[in-house]
């Protein structure tokens, strides 16, 4: 028996394409504790969605997946479709970005929820229908007794996503995977869906793997956060560690580039220079190095591994201040949340820096143009 629901170990996903092999995920490991919310953040193409699809065995055939994905100790990779479907949708439920494609347009929503119930539980049609109505009420669909017989097109986008959450809750899952669940939605609708998602977590006591590019959503919901860049996690820690002591320059940059609704707008936004890396072919060194203001020779030669952040004063600053030999004032590092990992050669120095200060607040175009 393990104390985690899902654990992923050294997962790699490659796709073969016309231009060569695309390394979409290059070694990701994490585990989710019961009732924990793990957030995965990253920009387009960082490999966050592919990770979720791999965990569900939903990748297309041209994907080469290696590593290990375990559910309560049972290996899922290489499992036959039939065995997998016994777990998928029952113990592990999914919520995708686009509710229109995850619901079948030719069946009523009640039928679809009832089908999810009957696929994994031996109950009568009528019981399943009653369960569908109960779930619709739970996710806040008004007039659920009548709406149960409506088709997906008769619902708004936010209501459809709540129906999808109802389907996900149908079999009392242990884990819910949500891939950009609120991305296409308006902000007040997003608030409705997030509150529904919280209801679902309270009701099922499930853990949640929340994949999003929205750091605000992560801040509100996640217990732990994994930041992805170029197919690898570059920083892992508690939500407080990631937001209050980011230790990877990329995380710094992301936080500094966000305009905030709670700031008066007088501060200039920080821009991460350059473009995200192309994932084709092999590379040497840290994938973020070309965009990083702290890059040194070592960054171009050696890709840093994830290692614990210890948070100390930058040595360069010590000597500059003539503090060599004197007692260095330790910076308090009392942010709770267990181990804080960063894949940066200078993680300890970065952790000591004020957020975003290392990036330029310029308007210049730093993106690369193909030669």
């Amino acid at each position: 028996m393990t104390d985690s629901t899902i654990s992923v170990d050294d997962l790699h996903v490659d796709f073969s394409s016309g231009d060569g092999v695309v390394h979409a995920v290059r070694g990701i490991s994490f585990s989710i504790a019961p009732e924990e919310v793990l957030g995965i953040v990253g920009e387009s193409g960082s490999g966050k969605s592919v990770t979720a699809l791999a965990a569900m065995g939903l990748l297309p055939k041209n994907a080469k997946v290696t590593g290990s994905i375990r559910y309560q100790g049972q290996e899922l990779l290489g499992l036959k479709e039939k065995q997998l479907s016994g777990i998928r949708g029952k113990s592990i439920a999914m919520v995708f970005q686009d509710p229109l494609t995850s619901l079948n347009p030719v069946y009523t929503v009640g039928w679809q929820i009832a089908e999810a119930v009957r696929a994994h539980q031996d109950v009568s049609k009528d019981t399943a229908r009653q369960e569908a109505i109960r779930l619709l009420k739970l996710v806040g669909i008004p007039d659920a007794d009548n709406r149960v017989d409506n088709y997906p097109h008769e619902f708004s986008g936010g209501m459809r996503q709540r129906v999808v959450i109802a389907v996900a809750m149908a079999n009392d899952p242990t884990v819910i995977l949500a891939d950009e669940p609120t991305t296409a939605l308006d902000v007040t609708v997003q608030a409705q869906v997030l509150s529904t998602l919280k209801t679902a977590l309270d009701e099922t006591k499930a853990s949640l793997l929340l994949i999003t590019h929205d750091l605000g959503v992560i801040a509100g919901l996640a217990d732990r956060v994994l930041v992805m860049y170029a197919g690898r996690p570059v920083e892992v820690g508690s939500v407080e560690q990631i937001f209050y002591a980011p230790s990877m320059p990329y995380t710094h940059g992301l936080l500094g580039s966000l305009p905030r609704v709670d700031s008066d707008g007088t501060e200039k936004l920080r821009q991460i220079p350059g473009s995200p890396p192309v994932m084709v072919g092999d590379r040497v060194g840290c994938p973020f190095a070309p965009r990083c203001p702290m890059r040194a020779t070592i960054c171009e030669e050696q890709e840093p591994e994830l290692r614990p952040v210890t948070f100390r004063q930058p040595t360069g600053q010590d000597s500059a201040n003539g503090m060599v030999g004197e007692e260095v004032q330790p910076v308090p590092y009392d942010i709770p949340g267990g181990v804080h990992l960063s894949a940066c050669h200078f993680a300890d120095e970065v952790a000591a820096m004020p957020t975003a200060s290392m990036f330029p607040d310029s308007s210049a175009d730093h993106e690369t143009v193909l030669p």
Partner: protein, 348 residues
């Protein structure tokens, strides 16, 4: 109805800084209804979509008015009506004191030199088979300003947006989304316009790229003194870039004021719900905030509710809200708000 009290009269007319008393752009009672087509065999009009219903605002030279609201609130239609890309059903759009609605085509084209637009989709708004320099040059050709200086003007426009002039011969597919958006901005700037309508200019971009474009727009405004009508659904970006902000719901402006008035002292329940729903990237703050979760959905613009259009989802709604349309006037809070029961509540 009783005549409006002078103390609380609409504050739509504001003195412009240039001294001639008129703002750069003045939109009054703008209405746009779209016919709804239907029928099983023969298509005919079966209803009316009330997209924009009586929108009024002013925009001064060199300032940014943010127009925010959710999908279907009419913000894009408003922006396009300003440019006469859609012809409004009624109302008035005055640019530099001149009425644009009903203007003859040639005259309109002349005015459009000063009125340009940047679209949301950096992939759809550039011709993939045209070198980007040609795209930027097109407005010059159209307005007969190519001449001897044309090529140089294109180079200058590209430099302004942070791209090297030598990229002019490249094609759109060689550029990233952020760079394409910069090219779209260069094309809009090449005629030295006085007003740019920016329709969701950064919402298709990743955050780390978005920051550079937002900074660019701010710098261009300082440098060139252009006014922006900044249309967006992202309340954080709008707060960052706008000097004044108008919040729209179902075709109407519900609250308008300076950035600080709307964000720090919102009085309309919808503004409050909208602002409270935006997640803040700060775990402690985000978890201690109150989130107003609205019930239900936005009603159809085909059959908007009587009176206040927000009343069907408003926790303050009374009988009067169904009977009387609340005027957009200053109700004592210092800025216009269209609510019968305004109340200052700080939500961010």
């Amino acid at each position: 109805m009783t005549p409006p009290d002078p103390q609380t009269a609409p504050t739509a007319v504001r003195p412009a800084p240039d001294g001639d008393g008129s703002p750069l752009l003045s939109v009054t009672d703008l209405v746009k209804h779209y016919p709804k087509r239907g029928g099983s065999f023969i298509k005919h009009d079966v209803g009316t979509i009330h997209a924009v219903c009586g929108v009024s605002f002013d925009l001064d030279e060199g300032e940014t008015l943010g127009l925010v609201g959710e999908s279907g609130c009419g913000k894009t239609t408003t922006g396009r009506s300003v440019l006469q890309l859609v012809s409004p059903t009624s109302g008035s759009v005055r640019f530099q004191g001149r009425e644009l609605i009903g203007l003859e085509k040639r005259e309109l084209r002349r005015t459009r030199r000063d009125l340009q637009i940047v679209f949301q989709d950096p992939f759809g708004s550039l011709d993939p088979r045209m070198p980007v320099g040609e795209s930027v040059a097109e407005p010059l050709h159209i307005h007969g300003q190519w001449g001897k200086q044309g090529r140089q003007r294109v180079g200058e426009a590209l430099s302004l947006v942070g791209l090297e002039p030598r990229f002019a011969t490249r094609f759109p597919n060689e550029f990233s989304g952020g760079q394409r958006q910069r090219i779209g901005i260069a094309r809009a700037l090449v005629l030295n316009p006085k007003l740019l309508v920016l329709d969701e200019p950064v919402s298709a971009l990743d955050v780390s790229i978005q920051a550079g474009v937002v900074n660019l727009l701010e710098e261009l405004q300082q440098q060139l003194g252009i006014a922006y009508l900044f249309i967006a659904h992202d309340l954080s970006v709008v707060r960052h870039i706008s000097s004044r902000v108008a919040v729209m719901y179902l075709g109407r402006i519900v609250e308008i004021g300076t950035r600080a008035e709307v964000y720090d002292r919102p009085e309309h329940p919808y503004t409050q719900a909208l602002l409270s729903a935006v997640p803040v990237p700060d775990p402690i703050k985000e978890r201690s905030r109150t989130h107003i979760v609205l019930e239900g959905d936005v009603p159809s613009p085909e059959h908007p509710p009587s009176g206040c259009r927000f009343r069907t989802r408003c926790w303050k709604a009374q009988d009067v809200c169904a009977e009387q349309v609340p005027e957009l006037v200053d109700r004592g809070g210092g800025h216009p708000v269209a609510c019968h029961f305004p109340e200052l509540t700080k939500v961010v």
